[in-house]
Symmetry: C2
């Protein structure tokens, strides 16, 4: 009876705090080791500018979702060593390096509510410190001595870079297909999620079915994560205008909602998309009009369905793994990622 | 007699063509394989912008000195496999990636007499295609399956990135010491030369003394190469003004000639360096005046001596290796690198 009550209370706490906080709690000691390692390795004896720039970004309170995924995958597979900590730091360094380069490419001024490094210092520092973090991640993964891990992360790096270049070359291009969109988000988001979970399983010497399960989970989670992000940029399925909406429209990015709308556009709507996205000639009221078109064609609802389907795929992918509290948390995390839009 | 005559003729040809062309001739078939591999691997199925940008740079007639060094080191150590070709392509990809990022950082408009990628496309493409080439190099080296090679190249990557950031943070800083200058050029140039020769020896399973010899040769060659470059920017030891001189002065870079001059400056000269380099307030005639100061204090001759000393170190480093035509060519190459300033 007492035990039941405790489980009930724990359940309430978990419901309150959500699966992400739960994941943090379940991996608190490993994550503390990751944070220590990140701080140790981002220091450069010879170039003091490096920790200045990286500290700005690394300490800025990012969610550390990717390293948590690596730690979770390793733990689910019963890993006992310390290489999971190295790989979690590796993954966070790769992520941080891509953020630094993204901010240069996007000419961003803000990230996580703070000025970006390229604004505080300059583009040069963002490019070179990104390179430095990437090389540090490379050193960390070599230390694990696992050629298979190196192979996975080398391939992920190539997919990430390809995705970023692809995104650049399809920007403002109304002919962008849904297939191309998925290639872009697989590169810019899902590839690192998938590698993060896969290397956790590989380092634990998990059976191939478990490695596949965790990689597929990371891949699908990453895809749903990015679709949700792109949908929220248009205010979610309810198209509720907020101060954080409309960035992609203003930056003329072809994301899923607009790709779906372009496919259904009549002549007048097509002219609207050509003017605002392709030619970048935007006026007051265009964002509201864009959202009206998106709602008229059900594009936001369709986008939401796709995000939910990918979250479903993430959960199904976990099936081959034995039941455990961490597995339950990962499944809940997939629901949580899309809960922002339901 | 006939044979003697032939050797004489060959000797004349070699003397005429120089050690670099000789190196190319001795490694022609391996280098053809490297060029094929580079062309195959720079293609991206998903992002057509990538081969456009890389072809511009990779086909632009760079000297391919670094891959030649890898091939030479492997051949000297009796290597029989094909991983030397992969590593030579790896090294060229890393070099090309750093060039793309350098051009963004330096805001360059010209490289090898042609417009740079950042001018033809944009900074974004240069940053992202650089990342792509780096990830491709990473895939290539993983294919060799040698953790030691990966370790060497991971460490070299970190030293390169550190050197670049260090260069950025000491730019325009008159307090830059000679020691800092050597740290910068070790990062920006010598680290990749040293890794290029070292991995060639490692892949050939050469004895440690030969690995050390070839790494030290690459390191010293790279250092002398960069000192020569920095000296030529002030017209060489004779300070002869040409159309390619004065870039570093105009870009306010602290290179060895100026570092030596600042150390010997009287109050008036110090004011001159503060105005032109630190504050960037340059007028007509300032470059000529800078060169007059450099000559007055013998800074160009001193720089030349240091370049010659490092070329000497490169040659001495080869001592433990058995005699061979390739070894002779590498020694001649060290002389050739500094021959541009004598």
């Amino acid at each position: 009876m007492q035990r039941r009550a405790m489980i009930l209370i724990l359940g309430q706490i978990m419901a309150k705090t959500g699966p992400f906080e739960q994941l943090q709690a379940e991996l608190a000691s490993e994550m503390a080791a990751v944070n220590t390692l990140i701080r140790t390795r981002m220091v450069s004896e010879h170039a003091p500018r490096i920790p200045e720039v990286t500290a700005h970004l690394v300490e800025a309170g990012g969610k550390r979702l990717r390293p948590l995924l690596t730690l979770a995958a390793a733990k689910i597979c019963g890993y006992q060593g310390t290489d999971d900590v190295k790989l979690a730091a590796t993954v966070e360094f790769i992520h941080t390096a891509t953020l630094l380069h993204d901010d240069v490419v996007d000419e961003s001024n803000q990230r996580r509510g703070r000025p970006t490094a390229n604004l505080l210092w300059d583009n040069k520092s963002s490019v070179l410190v990104g390179d430095y973090l990437f090389s540090r991640s490379f050193q960390l993964m070599v230390e694990t001595g696992s050629l298979r891990v190196l192979d996975i992360l080398a391939n992920a790096s190539a997919v990430i870079a390809e995705g970023e270049v692809l995104q650049l070359s399809v920007a403002q291009n109304l002919a962008t297909s849904e297939a191309t969109y998925f290639q872009v988000i697989r590169g810019k988001t899902a590839a690192l999620f998938a590698a993060a979970t896969e290397v956790g399983a590989v380092i634990a010497n998990a059976p191939e079915s478990h490695v596949d399960a965790l990689r597929d989970y990371g891949d699908a989670l990453g895809i749903s994560f990015q679709i949700v992000d792109d949908l929220l940029d248009y205010g979610g399925a309810s198209a509720s205008l907020g101060k954080n909406t409309g960035d992609d429209f203003r930056e003329r990015k072809l994301t899923l909602p607009v790709i779906l709308a372009v496919a259904k556009a009549d002549a007048e709507e097509r002219d609207f998309w050509v003017r605002t996205i392709e030619k970048g000639n935007q006026n007051d009221g265009d964002l509201s009009h864009a959202m009206a078109i998106l709602q008229k064609h059900d594009c936001l609802e369709m986008t939401k369905s796709k995000a939910l389907a990918w979250a479903g795929k993430a959960k199904s992918a976990l099936a081959p793994l034995p039941e455990s509290p961490l597995k339950t948390t990962l499944a809940a995390l997939a629901d949580f990622v899309v809960s922002r839009i339901v």
